[in-house]
């Protein structure tokens, strides 16, 4: 059950996760963790991926979050199933960092949901992660 993992393109051109990696100055170790987690999403069925790694759907949304503890911060990239094409594909929608039970940026979930909606109406606004 191999799935594709996509990345949302803000405005149809800017890779949302790549931009976030730069903005947050994500270290090579942190990116290594993220890349491996994404690869697990790509090649394994969800039942085999540790529930500590992927949580969701978050209450009241169609969003999931990756939970990556890296040295002194908690990365929480948000993603969804689909939302276009085969239901088992995933799309990374928004980068986020959890600080004291709260996400940064504060509106990360809203942004991710908006990106998901946008993608439904503009299916070309994504590229393979």
């Amino acid at each position: 059950m191999n799935r594709e993992v996509w990345e949302f393109l803000v405005g149809g051109s800017r890779r949302v996760i790549s931009a976030w990696l730069k903005e947050e100055n994500i270290s090579p170790q942190e990116r290594a963790k993220l890349d491996f987690a994404v690869n697990q999403l790509r090649t394994l069925d969800l039942g085999l991926i540790s529930r500590k790694l992927v949580a969701g759907p978050l209450r009241g949304t169609k969003l999931y979050k990756l939970r990556l503890r890296c040295q002194n911060r908690e990365l929480r990239p948000l993603l969804c199933r689909g939302p276009i094409g085969p239901g088992h594909d995933c799309t990374l929608l928004q980068g986020a960092i959890e600080v004291g039970d709260k996400l940064r940026p504060k509106d990360a979930e809203e942004r991710a949901s908006e990106h998901r909606e946008t993608l439904v109406s503009r299916p070309t606004w994504r590229e393979r992660y």
């Binding site: 059950m1 890349d35 491996f36 939970r67 393979r128």
Partner: protein, 478 residues
């Protein structure tokens, strides 16, 4: 196109792995992630719960859980090679540790998959043993059932996952040409219904594949293009028809936990309920959250089943998860009390059907415990012993249960007789005993005990236990 993207990913990883910080963390994540995923994959392939694997390994369930869901951090979890080795053996495999180049991670990029993590058990190891012959379709089955078996047996026997085929069948594609009244789940269940021990193997392999689909959270996003409701209905009813809790219990429970705050159609809830009855996860979770409320309150806040479904749930738990006759008997007692206000004796036939489902009721010990617990039942449901001594000294003792009546009569100067009037019959099967002279209750009770003890009918076990309990209490009173 797809090959291009694989090559691009490999190239990107090759570049990234040149950075020492990146590659060391990536290698650590790969080590942890691959071990935990493979333990889960093999446990699922074997149909073992975490508790069962822990038992095989000689450790506790939380230890297995911590290997499958390692604490996330920058360091390796505290796994000992000894523990991993024992887990490997518990799964019928060997642990292999090797030192590799970082570059080999590029080759592993798409190689570690759900399929590639699986391993055959030693008995099915093709290098050690010849592959057993593939089972034949049931020659006595109707033609369309054989047609389905010819599709499913090679698919399951080959033991490649090929989940897409199952997804197609669950949506009704590729099935025998049938009318709308034939649901896909019926064909899937017929497809694995072959004579002999092969059926168990086929059912387990089907259950493993269903578990993968359930783990993909089909309730959130169905992995199909057609109707999600039809798909879920067929998925859940297929699970309900299998009774493979080791494979299906946990993923079904996760679905239940997720959907119990939503409002899917009643038909889907009924299908999920059927699947949960047959495939229970853990000793206490469904019991406390589903079966007990159904029995105590006659309803459940989300599922539509009532007392009878709750009783079925407790009965299947007794059979598949934890032998717990006390809980089954408790359920009967509560049902008898609940039904007292909604029909009472009118519901006796229905109540008796519940009683006859108790496994092992033909064994004295089970019957004895039933009789003991029946002291707390509503009066209309209890097995009854009535005795009567007339002024002339004649004795009459009567025991009724399950519509069957056992009776002992003894008139002064005459011979004692025992008689049986079976449920639904007016005929009386009378036997004259050798007892004569002045009637004595203890002798007549013994006579009735002998008569019930010689009977094969299941009611006889209960009546025997009831009479024995009565005799013991009479002696105690005396």
């Amino acid at each position: 196109m797809k090959e291009d993207s694989v090559n691009q990913r490999k190239e990107r990883l090759r570049q990234d792995l040149r950075d020492p910080d990146y590659r060391e963390q990536y290698a650590t994540s790969a080590l942890i992630g691959n071990v935990s995923a493979q333990v889960q994959a093999l446990r699922r392939q074997r149909g073992l719960s975490q508790e069962e694997l822990a038992k095989r390994v000689g450790t506790k369930q939380p230890r297995i859980s911590s290997v499958e869901n390692p604490p996330d951090g920058d360091k390796l979890p505290n796994w000992e090679v000894d523990t991993l080795d024992r887990i490997a053996k518990g799964l019928g495999t060997r642990l292999k540790i090797s030192f590799e180049t970082f570059g080999s991670l590029v080759e592993e990029l798409d190689a570690v998959t759900t399929e590639s993590l699986r391993r055959p058990e030693p008995a099915n190891d093709p290098i050690l043993f010849p592959k057993p012959p593939m089972p034949e379709p049931d020659p006595t089955a109707p033609e369309r059932t054989r047609w389905m078996q010819e599709l499913m047996i090679p698919w399951l026997w080959e033991d490649k996952l090929e989940i897409d085929r199952l997804l197609g069948w669950l949506q009704g594609s590729g099935l025998p040409p049938v009318g709308a009244e034939e649901e896909p789940y019926q064909w899937l269940l017929r497809g694995v219904s072959v004579p002999g021990p092969a059926q168990d193997t086929l059912e387990k392999r089907l259950a493993e594949r269903l578990a993968i689909i359930l783990g993909e959270q089909p309730d959130v996003d169905a992995p199909v293009s057609g109707s999600q409701h039809d798909f879920l209905n067929n998925l859940y009813w297929t699970c309900a028809g299998l009774r493979q809790p080791a494979f299906l219990g946990e993923p079904l429970w996760q679905i239940y936990r997720r959907v119990k705050y939503t409002k899917p159609p009643g038909a889907i809830r009924d299908a999920l309920q059927g699947a949960l009855v047959q495939n229970q996860f853990g000793e206490t979770k469904p019991l406390k959250e589903i079966w007990e409320p159904m029995i105590e309150r006659g309803r459940h806040r989300w599922l539509r089943g009532r007392e009878i479904v709750g009783y079925e749930g407790i009965l299947v738990r007794h059979l598949t998860v934890k032998p717990d006759l006390d809980k089954v008997l408790w359920a009967l007692g509560r049902i008898s009390q609940r039904w007292e206000t909604t029909g009472g004796a009118d519901r006796l036939p229905e109540f008796e059907r519940l009683i006859w489902k108790i496994p092992g009721l033909d064994q004295y010990e089970v019957a004895r415990r039933l009789v003991e617990s029946a002291r707390d039942w509503a009066p209309w449901a209890r097995p009854m012993v009535e005795r009567h001594r007339a002024a002339d000294g004649s004795l009459d003792i009567c025991v009724r249960f399950g519509g069957t009546e056992y009776r002992g009569d003894w008139n002064p100067g005459g011979l004692a007789t025992t008689s049986i009037r079976r449920s639904g019959s007016d005929q009386v099967d009378e036997q004259r005993s050798g007892l004569s002279g002045q009637p004595r209750m203890n002798l007549l009770v013994n006579e009735l005990l002998t008569r019930a003890g010689n009977e094969q009918a299941r009611e006889a076990r209960v009546i025997h236990a009831e009479v024995l309990a009565y005799a013991a209490s009479s002696r105690g009173a005396a």
